[in-house]
Symmetry: D2
Amino acid sequence: MSQRTAKPCFEIRRVVEFHETDMAGIVHFSNFFRYMEAAEHAFLRSLDQHLHGVIDGLETGWPRVNASCDYRSPARFGDTLAVRVYIDEVRNRAVRYGFECCVGDRLVASGSITAAHVAITPEGIRARPIPESVRQKLLALMTSQP
Amino acid sequence: MSQRTAKPCFEIRRVVEFHETDMAGIVHFSNFFRYMEAAEHAFLRSLDQHLHGVIDGLETGWPRVNASCDYRSPARFGDTLAVRVYIDEVRNRAVRYGFECCVGDRLVASGSITAAHVAITPEGIRARPIPESVRQKLLALMTSQP
Amino acid sequence: MSQRTAKPCFEIRRVVEFHETDMAGIVHFSNFFRYMEAAEHAFLRSLDQHLHGVIDGLETGWPRVNASCDYRSPARFGDTLAVRVYIDEVRNRAVRYGFECCVGDRLVASGSITAAHVAITPEGIRARPIPESVRQKLLALMTSQP
Amino acid sequence: MSQRTAKPCFEIRRVVEFHETDMAGIVHFSNFFRYMEAAEHAFLRSLDQHLHGVIDGLETGWPRVNASCDYRSPARFGDTLAVRVYIDEVRNRAVRYGFECCVGDRLVASGSITAAHVAITPEGIRARPIPESVRQKLLALMTSQP
């Protein structure tokens, strides 16, 4: 998997913190999932889309269905990570984001998170169609396929 | 602060995990607060006392008021930590636990957590007296003062 | 992806801790990668295989190349999780583990971690063949394909 | 303990992330120690003082001797936390930082971290006097006592 050339739809930057490293001297692999989620949430905020919403009086959310990450090179304490967000697929009730974490030009990790759109109903958590206004915003920002 | 000679009222053991270490090769200091809380919760379970209860129809809990830790020697990946629980003070609406974390005979860290007993009322979170049955159990286990 | 019927080659059990939950009331998805790694490391210890070794005077280790997880149902504070380890592929310089996390009979998450075998050389981190004795142990425990 | 009126010597801002919350819907208490350390490290960087240095050919660092925190009010997902750094005491081989975490005007937590200055010698980790240039910078920024 080589680095993407498409423009990301969103990017955050963060400095690697001491507690995020492990005894191998590099960022622990589990923390990249936290970086990716932080970027996803900042992206949703940028769309004026709250993580938790309300539809027909029911609380809604975006639980994770799948998360995956490929590790390419290490990130270290103090490194400034750019975490880039791509929208790779918009389905009826789910969205799959792609991510790249870079230090300068160097690719550190690339991953994906698939989040389902759900409502908390009296019968439990149930998948629900993504509201049309949100879906249109996501589709408009979807990674173009060359 | 030297090691306690009194018998703890509870003890858990856990093996230090890789993600709990930092680039200095030792357990990150913040994780000892997680170890202490895990021991507190296991202790409460041993008393058949749930972390979250219900009194007069109101949900109750034990939010932290203060937490403190002294670091004496490092713990490393794979070390088996004994985390010992002491009850240092039982007040009307709060309890102060003391903790010691040891690897074998070596003291690694000693700390304390003060937890308030609260109820979630329509007016917000409010301190509430510890139920008498719980208070009596805690008092009976309180660290004896020589 | 349905639950595996093959026997795992290793299993650990752990009780979900309070700090591992998030505001949705369930275990944060990133923590399953820590559970999987803890199970992998306990498995390696059971083989008398240390996480970090030495070959020809060079320090060796198992950095992650890929990690992935499917989330099937939530785990909550106090739940006892069984984390099962499968060996899905043994390559010359890498091994791919499969994992299942269950609460009782209920599948919570299934995932995989691919770890490369590397040595820290004067020229940097370099992939190295898995020592033959370790490779034979892993092959012997590999998940049988029906 | 009421809020400080003195001017802090440094401040960082950060938005509370989802994984930092727990099932009570608020930031888990252990994470404030990570916030405080992140602020301390950013402060040291602002002094052009690296976390890890070299004196007389020996690697130096600032391991924690004590950490403490009082919790005053909750912080929630998406809140912007200001984390303020105070220098409360400069000793020969140690410094004690004070911290306040606020959401707007509201005090969320106040704490302290005492860090020792050490060198990694062939005989092990040994306390070493803080380099005079660093000590002077810290003293100049020390919280004024009214």
